[in-house]
Symmetry: C2
Subunit: 418 residues, 2 copies
Amino acid sequence: MSSIKASIITIGDELLIGQVIDTNSAYIAKALNKIGVQVTNRIAVGDNKEAITEALINTSAKSNIVIITGGLGPTADDITKPLLNEFFGGKLIIHQPTLDHITDIFVNKYKRPLIERNIMQAEVPDVCEVLFNENGTAPGMLFTKENVLFFSIPGVPHEMKGLVDTHILPIIQKRFKTPFIEHRTLLTAGIGESFLAEEIKEFEANLPSGIKLAYLPNFGMVRLRLTGADIDSNTLNININEQFAQLKNKVAAYLVTDLDETMEMVVGRLLKEKNQTVATAESCTGGFIGHLLSKHAGSSQFYTGGVISYDNRIKTEFLDVPTEILQTVGAVSKEAVEQMAIAVREKMNTDYAVSVSGIMGPSGQTDEKPLGMVWMGVASKEKVYSKVLYLRFDRSRNIEVTATQAINLLRLLIINKI
Amino acid sequence: MSSIKASIITIGDELLIGQVIDTNSAYIAKALNKIGVQVTNRIAVGDNKEAITEALINTSAKSNIVIITGGLGPTADDITKPLLNEFFGGKLIIHQPTLDHITDIFVNKYKRPLIERNIMQAEVPDVCEVLFNENGTAPGMLFTKENVLFFSIPGVPHEMKGLVDTHILPIIQKRFKTPFIEHRTLLTAGIGESFLAEEIKEFEANLPSGIKLAYLPNFGMVRLRLTGADIDSNTLNININEQFAQLKNKVAAYLVTDLDETMEMVVGRLLKEKNQTVATAESCTGGFIGHLLSKHAGSSQFYTGGVISYDNRIKTEFLDVPTEILQTVGAVSKEAVEQMAIAVREKMNTDYAVSVSGIMGPSGQTDEKPLGMVWMGVASKEKVYSKVLYLRFDRSRNIEVTATQAINLLRLLIINKI
């Protein structure tokens, strides 16, 4: 079976000087992968004619599909459109539906005059198929050369997503016979990557040739992913399900979920199933646990709210942590986080609560309390439990890890494992 | 002036199926750029021998430096080390300082036995220079071939960062004469990209040849960046400062900051300068504003805390929003956010407060209140002000944009512009 291969080219100097992080490529790769197209490489180049041209030539030699994002804005550093026009030997003409759309956005919606620069956004090479961009002013374009499809779309994330979903995926599915790809993903907690690998060594060695295992480690958690490809979707499903069942069995003691979901999604699902609620009391994470619990649709079913007690005064005034505790054992203590969890659960009248207090760095440590020391607490009506961790990352990663570990502690309380 | 060119190769199937977002490349690109090394391309390939080898050959032909991250873990899908060993014609030997370090981590710190898989992490090709990895078990490696430096480092972000900062940058600076690169960045708010471009058209057209302008638009905000390169650091500084002064002058009416900092960093700086504090009352952002305000070091100087009033009950019980308001005009209203800001400021006894309440999607809209409608409020001792926005993104982007716009509103209050 020869697979359909794609390359992704992202254009923009900001990618090469590290000013922005490339999230578009991940979205496109995921979308293509789901329809059985294999992304074999991703290239980022600057707003530079030679580099873009070279990337087009290199990728077209080894791909059936090339997806190009970025460099289509209204400003002078956006050189992609004239370059593609020249590369594919076209001439620029006005695309009337796009011009009408741009006029509508500026004149009717923004009540602003249409300037020359806006009108130029409606120009397209006459050798391309225009992909109408509902979410923005720069249209997508499809060029075909020697059986390779070249899609050029804007780099603005929601415009890129709209064009991928409504135009690119359907066109690819119509023009190629794509193989079936299946992923099965599970998440473990409480065992390190190398020990986990040791436990499933034999399983991994005996995997059939069409199925691959990958490890995605995070602090205290490892995600395992099986990927299979086959031209027959039935065979593929039977094989991968059989292997996945074996894998789940091997890691049963550490299994958090056998779906491709995050820790907070697991907890949200558990709470929704039980029709229960949770409140948060955060010090060092400053709202990040609340953000994780509320970022997915449907979170108002289980997330009631929280107190961000960043200043110690708020711990006392809003969460009744006695000043005596703060003065003796301090805010980063078992006593403080347990009281925070108890108080926020009672005051917000929820089934559960989760709390954290720690030293995220880069300063704030004392002789007894090192950087990265963090206490986390959870409470239900019947129980209160707490745990200390010593992290060794930078501030931003310490905040992330603390939040995820606290949500895992909440999960263990919900499923009666603590 | 011939510039020093670098390529970045990131390895891992997870990058090609979009399961993780590549933040490492941005970090490395930024670090190299600061020492005058130009990153000309970034390539992501899978855990696949042919693809990695091809990337090594392609990039070495056009780069002085190749930085390879990922694929160095202890598991079978990590094939980078044996591949590099073969590519550079070495044989694997145990690196004793790394083995001692691994033994220390497992035996002394984790109290776990050292397994074969861990010991193998201390193996290195005898043709490389070992870069000691203080933060993890897989060492970094430096290979030299035909005057090109190849650095191979783990993909775990904090390990990658440590090796870049303490090993890679100093080695590059010692072995190459790098040109000077300077960036000047400013942030504008309240004007769209194409209108801004129109206002600085003439400035842009008259830029000297060594200086480039780039636009980085976000919702309602545009970041502008000037980049210059020169072998003489004095000339470079004089020229770029002169152009930057002109640019600042042109965009004065919309200027938020002339430093490369985020909106929340601007507000944090303003508050620290004035020795003032802020509290948050968040509904639809669920803690994300608190997270932004507290994610940077030193935030405890100005961020006191907040209430996440996700459920309407919390708006009434914690922030005194009358049930009458919730029943008549609703939680997404001028009245609700103004009361939320007033109450949290008073209760937390801060100089300022910021509040939000909106419909982030994908559901929750009513006949009067569309998806993306969001009210934001700010309060000081003397003043309360609110504003409504209609966003048209997905849930996650709506949350981000709401948080940044609310912090901008707080900024306008702090500098007496509202």
